[in-house]
């Protein structure tokens, strides 16, 4: 029965700890400046995309992924299936059908470069970094290959080189961090885009532009910038003419950053472990003392026995 009593204490203290600490961390999060105004982003206006898939070609080209001639990307049959990112495809364009006018809507998919990335907080060797410019980048040099980042990513973006037996890597869009570090250069996909779909710039400015477009053209857009608040905000932002769940986005993610879910747990565990250690230390002392007493009694008993044998009193 001791166990259930212990559990009871654990639970009540867990609840108490969450009540006290949980609120506190929220306050701290509010105070923290999470608007990094210098960070870049890309605004994807899905109403302009014509599905040419040149961005896929340019992405493969820049990232040295196996590529095909640009002509091959005109093949529309790939749109028959909804595709996702894979080890050699950091970005894919999918086609959805607008139920109102049956026109196609093309949606580019790639890493969203979260403001507070789930992959980063999931990684147990800290292989992900959010750079000052906004890119979430991955370091294959320390990756152990547990693939927890892939489990944690709410957008199902990171892919894995499963066919690489010795040095497999997690792969995903790099936000062309090795292009944009030079003044005036934009990601490969943005550069090649022949329409006004992709726009690279300061994230805060892009949000302003997005809202302006919605204001100026309320019939063209639904009043929502995807990525502005989703799970704490993402560097890539989307505009759409129909609700986002109809063009392949998850709209039930909420505004809370994913890392907050694990942060609270880790904090509580540490607090509980420190608190719980005292009764355990006490119990261990007690147990050792008992052990010692028993040793002593046994020794005395043995001595007595010996003494009896020789017929002497001690």
């Amino acid at each position: 029965m001791g166990i259930s009593r212990r559990d009871f204490f654990k639970h009540t203290s867990a609840i108490a700890a969450t009540a006290v600490i949980g609120n506190q961390t929220e306050v701290l999060a509010d105070q923290k400046d999470i608007n990094h105004t210098d960070r870049y982003g890309v605004l994807v206006d899905t109403t302009f995309c014509n599905g040419c898939r040149k961005c896929e070609w340019a992405c493969n080209e820049w990232n040295k992924n196996p590529n095909q001639p640009i002509k091959a990307f005109e093949d529309k049959s790939v749109f028959n299936k909804i595709r996702r990112t894979h080890a050699a495809n950091f970005t894919v364009v999918n086609r959805f059908i607008n139920p109102e006018d049956s026109n196609p809507i093309y949606v580019k998919k790639q890493c969203m470069h979260c403001e507070e990335p789930a992959c980063l907080s999931a990684c147990f060797v800290d292989a992900f970094k959010k750079t000052d410019k906004g890119a979430v980048v991955y370091n294959a040099g320390i990756c152990v290959g547990c693939r927890y980042c892939m489990v944690a990513c709410p957008f199902d973006i990171p892919a894995y080189e499963y066919h690489e037996p010795v040095n497999p890597r997690v792969t995903k869009c790099t936000f062309c961090f090795n292009r944009t570090d030079k003044e005036g250069r934009v990601p490969a996909c943005v550069e090649i885009c022949p329409t006004e779909t992709l726009r690279f710039g300061k994230r805060s400015e892009l949000i302003a532009i997005a809202h302006e477009r919605i204001r100026n053209n309320p019939r063209r857009y639904i009043d929502h910038v995807y990525g502005e608040d989703e799970i704490g905000g993402t560097s890539w932002l989307y505009l759409s003419t129909i609700p986002f769940e109809q063009i392949g986005f998850k709209t039930d993610l909420g505004k809370k950053p994913i890392p907050d879910l694990s942060k609270g747990f880790l904090f509580n565990v540490k607090v509980l472990e420190i608190v719980a250690s005292w009764p355990l230390v006490f119990a261990a002392f007690h147990a050792i003392k008992k052990l010692r007493n028993r040793h002593k009694n046994e020794e005395e008993a043995a001595k007595e026995k010996k003494a009896e044998k020789y017929g002497k009193k001690v």
Binding site: F8, A87, C143, Y162, D252, A276, A284
Partner: protein
């Protein structure tokens, strides 16, 4: 020459159970060893295949389903079922419940082997297995739940080793070491309680970061608590199952046992398991109520959820209570097996069946994955038997009987 014969007699005594090598080989020609040999003859080449050709050809893992049975079964089930050492160690060393004396060492050994082989199984899953120690020495992902688990696993394996080591030193006739480590074992147990509880909960917390991917009936912010409480249940049940099995398999070693006392202890464990299971059941119901998921119960996944918590949680709660009330050991033992199955089902549901329930592609294991898992479990059982046949696990070492 003399030295050589000394060593060979040491090997004979310690490794070959006092037999000559040919005798020892002959004694191993049994049906169970034959089955084990067949399993290993198939599994070992498959294991090598995995390392040579990589995860792609040897698994059904994909970008959408990055985790398969090596995580869901080898690690999640393995660690839950290895909670026996935690439960028994606490009861015996820290709460001083002397009646569990005979169950402590087998439980600690089961846990030690369970953890070691869970990590061994994990090696197959890790893309770069050779970097296993990286989170300890190269780079620290302090915000990661996985980081906490990695450290806790490493520390807990050391703690379990210390808890188990008195048996090792008895076997090696190192009396001073034994006395020293018997004391350390108490500390290791106290330390182990903290970290074992922490990482059992953390295994549940792994999935807290994937709210959109796990079916709402299984997803809850209470997942860490579910995992912790059900690990206590699994630990208690596993001690019952394991003692039932070892008492049958290693009959000779427990000849002089007081069977009535053993039965009493088993039904008492059942009583504890019943209480823990009931706590777990209430928490699960609380989880459904908290997220207001009642309507989801009337869906196919809902029936599956109800099957899990009614047949494998609520039913054994009553069966354990019945076993304890009427001192029915048989019922307690079968119920323990039912409960262990249920906890495994829960881990498999959380990590595989209810995970990615709405994803465009579902995961099912490739035969090679199943073969490697069976191979890992077989190796674990063989390791357990190797130790039990040689060391004082099920009985007291004759030199140290007085100390207990």
């Amino acid at each position: 020459m003399e030295r050589k014969s000394e060593t060979s007699s040491w090997v004979r005594d310690k490794i070959f159970l006092g037999m000559t090598f040919p005798e020892y080989l002959k004694s191993n020609l049994t049906l169970s060893n034959g089955i084990a040999a067949i399993i290993l003859i198939i599994a070992v080449p498959v294991m090598i295949y995995r390392f040579v050709y990589g995860l792609g050809p040897s698994t059904n893992l994909s970008d959408t389903n990055p985790w398969g049975i090596w995580i869901g079964v080898d690690v999640l089930c393995g660690i839950a079922l290895a909670a026996g050492g935690l439960v028994m160690g606490t009861a015996y060393y820290l709460f001083g419940m002397k009646e569990y004396h005979n169950l402590v060492r087998p439980a600690v050994l089961t846990s030690l082997i369970g953890y070691l082989f869970a990590v061994f199984g994990l090696l197959f899953d890790l893309g770069r297995y050779y970097r296993l120690p990286y989170p300890m020495i190269v780079s620290y992902g302090l915000t990661s739940i996985m980081f906490l688990i990695a450290w806790h696993f490493a520390l807990y394996i050391i703690a379990l080793f210390v808890e188990w080591s008195p048996a090792l030193f008895e076997w090696l006739n190192l009396k001073k070491m034994r006395t020293l480590f018997s004391k350390l074992a108490v500390w290791a147990t106290a330390f182990g309680v903290i970290i074992a509880g922490g990482h059992q909960a953390a295994l549940g917390a792994l999935f807290v970061v994937a709210p959109g991917k796990l079916h709402p009936l299984w997803y809850s912010e209470l997942l860490p608590v579910f995992f912790l409480v059900s690990a206590v249940v699994a630990g208690l049940s596993m001690v019952v199952v394991e003692s039932a099995l070892t008492h049958r398999v290693f009959k000779k070693q427990v000849e002089h046992f007081d069977n009535a006392a053993f039965d009493r202890v088993i039904t008492k464990l059942g009583k504890g398991a019943s209480a823990a299971l009931f706590t777990y059941f209430i928490l699960k119901v609380f989880g459904v109520a908290h997220s207001d998921n009642w309507t989801l119960l009337n869906t196919p996944y809902g029936y599956w959820f109800l099957f899990e918590i009614l047949v494998f949680v609520l039913l054994p709660t009553f069966l354990f209570a019945y076993g304890a009330r009427y001192k029915n050991v048989r019922i307690t033992q079968w119920t323990a097996l039912l409960t262990v199955t249920g906890i495994m089902l829960n881990r498999i549901n959380t990590s595989l069946i209810a995970f990615n329930w709405n994803a465009p592609e579902r995961y099912y294991p490739l035969w090679t994955e199943v073969v490697i898992t069976i191979g890992v479990v077989t190796m674990g059982i063989l390791a357990f038997r190797f130790v039990v046949n040689r060391m004082a696990i099920l009985y007291d070492h004759p030199d140290h009987e007085l100390l207990h």
